[in-house]
Symmetry: C2
Subunit: 199 residues, 2 copies
């Protein structure tokens, strides 16, 4: 154990990947087994998921200074309905903001004229290489696109001043939505004039 | 699209699971294919990962009112080193706080006499049923346990007042660590006397 008072990343020597093999595969998932040699000579077998590498977006869409939009959607992993921010994979050829605008139109029936990128989040980097870009959206306008959802998503308009109640909500638990909420609140409190600007 | 001004969860009727089959499997991962019938009659095929159901803990350990501990660890999913809070799976028979104390001893060489649960976070509920319990730890004491890490983790002591710098750090991106940092800051700012209490 090394203890450091401050921080300079990037000094660690990565383990060597001695071999990498796909050991299981389905329509959506690809599991890779890695044989690793750490810089101290330790040998280990790891597994990781190979993703599409396309990245995803999550959008906090603000119709005004006091509200944002959430959707309630079926989640197969937990077999229940979860409340969260609109999100989706970036399509081939799209940039982040184009994908964000498309997802908004598909999921909540609005486009946005102005986006601000907050932070890019990793899922669980021990096992996945999946990045989600968190963006704020302003200057909304009504426009719908057909999505691939099996049923209409439930749209929920939430009061920014009731964010603590949202954190208490039993169906608002996804780490990326929680991080997005807190990052957005932090940004909007520090930049209250963002609502007065125009695209 | 249904628009609602306030929120009452639990009213949605879940889809029926017509069949569930394991379609791919490795040492760590199990992929299940679901045939679903939504309440509007739509039929869809989904895939999800079956987890151990054991849950995990992530710990923000505070040696004093001004600092917390981070670790820098190799992540196979991204093949790089990531900075984050100590974390790990709950072992069979352990409760959340016992697991948190064991992980602290294994990863940073401290135990803790007092824990406060902040929130339980889901990974990506569309695909996983994985819960991580975020806890604060106080009243630390030096004690080490042998972990299963291939190399010693790098321990980083971070100033609470420099949390914004941590959010800018290129290797601090895991959604659960970002959510944990912001939840901890919110709690500690609202409860400054938590450092004066004893176990």
């Amino acid at each position: 154990m090394t203890q450091r008072q401050d921080d300079k990343p990037g000094s660690k020597q990565k383990p060597d990947i001695l071999s990498a093999d796909i050991v299981a595969q389905s329509r959506l998932f690809k599991i890779e087994q890695l044989e690793l040699k750490f810089s101290n000579g330790e040998l280990r077998t790891y597994e990781r998921m190979r993703g599409s590498g396309r990245g995803a977006v999550m959008i906090i869409a603000c119709p005004d200074a006091e509200h944002f939009y959430l959707v309630r959607e079926y989640c197969a992993g937990t077999h229940d309905y979860q409340l969260g921010f609109p999100k989706g994979l970036i399509d081939p050829g799209e940039d982040i903001m184009t994908a964000a605008n498309r997802e908004l139109k598909e999921e909540i029936g609005f486009g946005a004229r102005r986006f601000i990128a907050l932070k890019s989040l990793a899922l669980a980097p021990g096992y996945f290489n999946a990045t989600m870009h968190i963006v704020l959206a302003f200057d909304l306008y009504a426009e719908s696109l057909e999505g691939d959802e099996p049923e209409p998503l439930e749209l929920v308009r939430w009061c920014r001043s009731h964010s603590d109640a949202l954190l208490q909500q039993a169906d608002f638990t996804e780490a990326r939505s929680v991080a997005a909420l807190l990052l957005a609140q932090q940004y909007l409190e520090a930049n209250p004039d963002v609502f007065e600007q125009t695209a």
